[in-house]
């Protein structure tokens, strides 16, 4: 409605009036998010520099301790491992989904969505049972004659990696699928016409064209893994704690709000800066997950 007709019936644009409209509609949500999101998070972070004494003591303690540094390292190792494995499995799956006949594709999509939306605890519980010493996986491996002693698959790095990769796979397959689907098949035909063999087509045409999607998906999975709480605490052992659990422990068992706030700030800064990288280079993607 920014046009208006004059006496002769010709349509001419109205002068643009810059007036704030619609802000009132957003006000209730702003108040809600302000009070119950911004304020609590801000208070938590403030406490990291105010408690028990004002200063950067908590941060010094966090960086100065070998135990905490090990937890940081472990958080990055687990997230990195999960990202690499998800990418290695996710790329062929996304590629296949993009070109496979429709019927099978829709079945696999249904499975992807189902696993994404199935309760996180239910899935983690399943892996706790599947991976235990007497669990199905160990039994199958022994049955196939691959091992003769049950492997320790749970309460360690292996367990966390399997459980987390399981959860992250859909989050890497879905965006990658979108990217590969958009690639023009004629670029590959052109490469083939110019004499490229299949391997060259893959490494010099398809992979580079899918690279932005792979990087964006990988970054997202990495960031999500960094902050994960439920799966690492149930499938991991005491020896390889992750950052989210450390934060929970500071607050719940040690009632040390200063340190909890400091660890939360570290996690927050890493997460938000990686998201900023993501937004800057790859545009918006829908994240999600716990």
């Amino acid at each position: 409605m920014s046009t208006c007709s004059d006496a002769s019936g010709a349509i001419m644009p109205l002068p643009k009036v810059r007036r704030a409209t619609g802000f009132g509609w957003a006000l209730p949500a702003l108040a809600f998010v302000g009070i119950f999101f911004v304020v609590p998070v801000a208070i938590l972070l403030l406490r990291s520099v105010l408690e028990p004494v004002p200063g950067l003591g908590n941060y010094a303690q966090l960086i100065g301790s070998a135990t905490y540094l090990k937890i940081f390292a472990n958080t990055f190792i687990v997230s990195g491992l999960v990202t690499v494995i998800s990418l290695l499995i996710g790329f062929p799956v996304a590629w296949a989904l993009a070109i496979m006949p429709g019927r099978l594709t829709s079945v696999i999509f249904a499975i992807l969505l189902l696993s994404m939306w199935t309760n996180l605890l239910a899935r983690t519980y399943a892996w706790m049972v599947l991976l235990q010493r007497t669990g199905l996986i160990n039994k199958m491996l022994i049955g196939m004659g691959l091992i003769d002693q049950p492997l320790a698959l749970v309460n360690n790095l292996t367990g966390v990696t399997i459980g987390m990769t399981y959860i992250m796979l859909p989050f890497i397959i879905l965006p990658l699928y979108g990217v590969i689907k958009k690639i023009d098949p004629s670029t590959l035909q052109a490469a083939a016409l110019c004499g490229a063999n299949r391997w060259q087509c893959l490494t010099r045409v398809l992979l580079p064209l899918a690279m932005p999607g792979m990087a964006a998906g990988a970054l997202m999975v990495f960031v999500m893994s960094l902050g994960y709480f439920v799966t690492p605490s149930l499938l991991g052992g005491t020896a390889n704690m992750m950052l989210a659990e450390l934060i929970a422990q500071f607050v719940q068992s040690l009632v040390n709000w200063g340190m909890g706030g400091a660890a939360a700030l570290v996690l927050l800064v890493v997460t938000l800066s990686l998201y900023a990288v993501q937004l800057r280079f790859f545009g918006n993607q829908n994240p999600g997950g716990r």
Binding site: P28, V33, F37, V39, V93, N119, A122
Partner: protein, 266 residues
């Protein structure tokens, strides 16, 4: 040729094998849990020696499971209603409005989606301890709403963006009041967005565990918290039964979404 399935040669079979194995991997825990919940082995041996409803009996016989399921349901329903209402009003402002920092405001509303949940959980826990909302139903609803609202705003905003406002204006020109036009013209047109907002909000609240762990009190806990607390002690098949019910609800909701989408498309 790499993007043509039939002309992939033997690569085709490699891709197919990886895809099917991955699908099996994704499906395995879900099917496994459902099977296990009917297995008669206390020690979760698979395949079980026999089949039984024992774990479901135990689940329903224990008032604490039932109570936590009811608590979860009550919270999820309240969160869904509030999230859709607040999401709707906010989306009108964000999509139709023009004011300074509109994009920044939208980004702020979506931030709870990308923030590590544990940070929010700890922050709200401290805040609620101070203002006396810890372990209360209100506390649960507020904290779940913080997480559900972004999904609601996203779904409703995108539906509203796809709706041609001139239709609403036409209704006003034909004599409807602006509010009437919104209710009778715009709302039905964006109902698919409202519906996704409701489903996402419900599932977000129903499945939420991290924030709920910090919100819960000995007298008030949601189903996921009850599952969590039980899992820390032992891997009893009763949890398999509870998990199967959770999975079933997800499947029903997903099927409902698919059906409603199909109906709305026609």
């Amino acid at each position: 040729m790499l993007l043509n399935f039939d002309r992939l040669g033997w690569w085709k079979y490699v891709l197919l094998a990886i895809t099917l194995l991955t699908a099996a991997f994704l499906l395995l825990p879900i099917v496994f849990i459902a099977a296990l919940s009917f297995g008669s082995s206390q020690w979760l041996i698979f395949p079980p020696p026999g089949w039984t409803f024992q774990w479901y009996h135990e689940l329903f016989a224990d008032p604490r499971w039932l109570e936590s399921a009811l608590t979860s349901f009550k919270i999820a329903v309240i969160v869904t209603i509030l999230s859709v209402l607040l999401g709707l009003v906010t989306s009108f402002g964000l999509v139709r409005g023009s004011f300074m920092f509109r994009d920044a405001l939208k980004a702020l509303f979506l931030t709870p989606m990308i923030l590590p949940v544990v940070v929010l959980a700890v922050a709200l826990y401290a805040f609620f301890l101070r203002i006396g909302l810890g372990g209360t139903l209100t506390g649960f609803v507020i904290s779940h709403l913080v997480l559900a609202l972004p999904f609601s705003i996203l779904s409703i905003s995108s539906a509203l963006e796809g709706f041609d406002k001139s239709i609403e204006d036409a209704a006003v020109l034909c004599g409807a009041s602006p509010l009437e036009a919104k209710i009778r013209v715009t709302l039905p047109a964006i109902s698919h967005g409202l519906f996704s907002a409701a489903v996402f909000s419900f599932l977000t609240s129903w499945d939420e565990v991290v924030v709920a762990i910090f919100m819960s009190s000995p007298t008030l806990q949601t189903l996921p918290v009850k599952v969590w607390a039980t899992l820390r002690q032992d891997l009893t098949p009763v949890v398999a039964a509870a998990s199967t019910l959770l999975i079933l609800l997800t499947i029903i909701l997903m099927a409902l979404v698919a059906v409603v989408r199909k109906v709305l498309k026609q």
